[in-house]
């Protein structure tokens, strides 16, 4: 459930048509319900497109009040989807002039969700998928091919993720530290469970929000335990939320998220740097190959 106006999935400009009213049977008309005409939809999930001109029922937030005829920007989430729509208000703002709206664009829920994911990401990088491969298998699993036909290939579940590793050649680091190659473990399964998780192909370009381990939702005991198993290997990340991958066509969005300075080129990890210090001839990103020393 959305906790604040900034997280509201349905944002619209509306006009209050009736106080203490409802056009949805399951929502009783009382002091907390009003019927509002949707004048303009600012933000809505795809399924909610086309509500402009419709009258909907709004259940007011605690302490919220409206006047008949008042125009406002409503921040809401779904309540009842029937012949008509009822929403739960998370609050409203006064309707302001068109020219001032642009200033609010950066606070839209879509942008806010992306910001939230960036906030919790260990690193944000742009680059290209150079390879997709199976994760390294433990010896016991790798030996399954030698088992008898009656012994299963591990636990078989239609919800299995079928993890794959996408190797990302990093061209820019927007947040955190990242080596020139990172591995993103992703589910290749087409099962409903993984319908929203980004899936990657060789050659794909874009920006990845990298998360250590795996967590589909907020942290919890089971997820924490699972994170020890999935993507827990050093240098292996996950990007399971739809916001965690922005294709190159959305590069403007990524740039807008990091306005403070130009992205940095990928850095060599401390471990790799130490190795390279021992190998003076090694080439670093952006440097030209050194000429071979003559003996």
């Amino acid at each position: 459930m959305a906790a604040s106006k900034a997280e509201a999935p349905f944002v619209f400009e509306g006009s209050v048509k009736s106080l203490k009213a409802s056009n949805v049977e399951a929502v009783p008309a009382d002091a907390r319900s009003v019927v509002v005409q949707v004048d303009h939809v600012r933000h809505a999930p795809r399924a909610m497109a086309g509500f402009a001109g419709q009258e909907i029922t709004v259940r007011l937030a605690p302490g919220e009040s409206l006047r008949a005829g008042e125009q406002a920007v409503f921040f809401a989430e779904g309540l009842v989807f029937g012949d008509h729509l009822a929403v739960q208000s998370l609050g409203h703002d006064p309707l302001i002039a068109q020219e001032a709206r642009a200033a609010l664009a950066g606070a839209s829920p879509v942008v806010q969700k992306l910001r939230n994911r960036i906030e919790v990401a260990q690193a944000v990088v742009s680059g290209q998928v150079s390879a997709v491969r199976s994760p390294h298998q433990p010896a016991a699993v790798a030996a399954k091919g030698r088992r008898s036909a009656a012994v299963p290939e591990g636990r078989i579940s239609e919800h299995a993720p079928f993890w794959q590793d996408a190797v990302i050649s990093v061209s820019q680091v927007h947040k955190g530290r990242a080596p020139k190659q990172v591995v993103v473990r992703f589910p290749s399964s087409t099962d409903v469970r993984w319908r929203s998780a980004p899936k990657f192909k060789k050659g794909q370009k874009g920006t990845w929000l990298l998360h250590a381990g795996a967590g589909v939702g907020a942290a919890g005991a089971p997820r924490a335990a699972a994170a020890k198993r999935v993507g827990a290997a050093p240098g292996v990340y996950t990007a399971l939320d739809p916001n965690d991958f922005q294709p190159s066509s959305e590069s403007a969005v990524v740039k807008a998220m990091f306005p403070a300075g130009a992205p940095k080129a990928a850095k060599v990890s401390p471990v790799a740097a130490a190795r390279r210090r021992k190998k003076p001839a090694a080439r670093t990103r952006g440097s030209k190959p050194r000429a071979k020393r003559r003996a």
């Binding site: 012949d83 729509l85 299963p152 579940s157 919800h159 929203s196 997820r223 999935v230």
Partner: protein, 464 residues
């Protein structure tokens, strides 16, 4: 007198803009008030993926109209959900797999709502890692004031299991449900996800499951073939005793669980294939008991006959000890669901792939027999649409199950199918709540913009 049919696309008018793949449906009918119905499917919260509650479909007018009520915890959608009403309390019970569970495992919740129309989230009664495909049934335990809600949840991984409570209305998050493992024989490491229960009002409870015995082919390569026994166990007191679900033994080995069909083979797919109507195959089971006589039980399962996947329907009239030959076989019939009404007459819902290539169709049938002539089945086509349209968004295309139940003489069911508003797809009629045009065969949102066709859940009621 001919049967009457009510068939309704369950997507409400206010969601005319939705184009989700609402597959794998389930239905609950309140036995205390059959005007009250709850349906489920892979329907996400329309407010988007940040939502923490998934919706159920609610009807309070016998299925004529439907609304969505988001009360299921665990994310904006579940990846398995079934529901049942408690016959004593009218509570709504659900078995789900939470979307916010651990990525490398499944997380089962058994849930309860004391008022299914309230926006309050359902209460978690069981929270367990590992099971798959929880399938809920409810029954009345006892009579009069002492009667209780009995709730049975068949699930699997790695063992065929029934989670059950003999007083689910009083169950808490820490107590009230028990687990019974119903497989008595060695298996091929695990059994299939389908564990189905059937409850007689007198307490006799049947459970059907596939006992996996062997595998060939490759799971990851999408060529796995499972060889299984179709097993039925029974408990004459609904699991109230010390050794639940051990009242029916097989004469061949004396172990609990009658082996109704041995060595049944079926594909267990990782992905649905175009040649199989985009549907992910993996076996099908259904079981139903005659409410007039607990000894009469019907069973449906799929298995290959030669190279053809085939649905079989059989009957036992002696509490599962002996079984008939096939009462009905259906080539490429999947998602079967059996129900028996209060006249003792069985009915069957299934979805059949017919034709090949571009002419392939998914045809959803409702068929009914009588207790006296169980080999003669009437046939009512509910839906028939091209198997290639719409293209699947994920697996499973239609779902791993559909559902049929009964109340009184009537049968209530739910299935998922293409929502293309083409009346030739619904030869016995249909009602849409969402914006549609049967002439132009188009869907629109509330503003009149065209909406692509997708898979919707359809409710139906057949009154014989």
């Amino acid at each position: 007198m001919a049967a009457t049919l009510l068939l309704v696309d369950m997507i409400p008018n206010s969601l005319s803009g939705e184009s989700e793949q609402d597959s794998e449906p389930m239905l609950a009918v309140n036995p205390n008030n059959p005007q009250q119905l709850v349906g489920t499917a892979f329907t996400p919260n329309p407010m988007g993926p940040a939502s923490t509650l998934a919706p159920v479909f609610v009807s309070t007018d016998g299925g004529n109209t439907w609304t969505l009520n988001a009360i299921v915890p665990g994310g904006d959608i579940t990846f398995d959900i079934t529901v049942a009403f408690g016959p004593k309390s009218s509570n709504l019970y659900a078995g789900i797999l939470r979307m916010d569970g651990p990525p490398d495992d499944t997380q089962l919740n058994i849930l309860r709502a004391k008022n299914f129309q309230s926006p309050a989230p359902m209460q978690v009664l069981v929270d367990r890692i590992g099971p798959d495909q929880p399938f809920v049934q409810a029954a009345l335990g006892g009579s009069g004031a002492a009667a209780k809600d009995r709730v049975y949840v068949g699930d699997n991984l790695p063992q065929s299991t029934v989670d059950y409570s003999l007083n689910a209305a009083a169950a808490t998050a820490t107590s009230g449900f028990k687990q019974a493992f119903v497989e008595s024989r060695p298996n091929a490491g695990q059994n299939g996800p389908q564990v189905r229960t059937a409850c007689h009002p007198g307490g006799v409870t049947y459970v059907a499951f596939y006992g996996w015995r062997n595998q060939s082919g490759s799971w990851t390569g999408n060529t796995l073939i499972v060889t299984a026994d179709v097993v039925v166990v029974r408990d004459d007191s609904g699991g109230a005793g010390a050794n639940p679900f051990r009242d029916l033994v097989d004469p061949s080995d004396g172990l609990p669980g009658r082996l109704v069909a041995k060595g049944v083979k079926f594909p267990f797919r990782r992905n649905g294939k175009a040649s199989e109507g985009q549907q992910r195959l993996g076996g099908d089971l259904t079981i139903a008991v005659n409410p007039l006589d607990s000894a009469v039980v019907y069973l449906g399962f799929t298995g290959k006959v030669g190279s053809k996947l085939t649905l079989h329907v059989r009957r036992s009239t002696d509490s599962g000890q002996t079984w008939s030959a096939d009462l009905l076989t259906v080539p490429f019939g999947i998602n079967p669901s059996l129900a028996v009404n209060d006249l003792g007459d069985p009915a069957l819902l299934y979805q059949q792939l017919t034709g090949t290539g571009a002419s392939a169709k998914w045809v959803t049938h409702f068929r009914q027999a009588t207790a006296g002539t169980p080999s003669t089945w009437s046939d009512l086509v509910l839906s028939s649409h091209p198997a290639s349209k719409p293209a699947k968004a994920f697996d499973p295309y239609l779902g791993d199950y559909a559902y049929l139940t009964s109340h009184g003489h009537g049968y209530y069911g739910i299935f998922s199918a293409s929502n293309e508003p083409d009346l030739t797809h619904f030869p016995n009629g249909v009602t849409y709540q969402r914006k549609h045009n049967f002439t132009t065969k188009t869907l629109t949102n509330l503003a009149g913009a065209t909406v692509p066709t997708s898979i919707d859940p359809f409710f139906f009621k057949v009154t014989p």
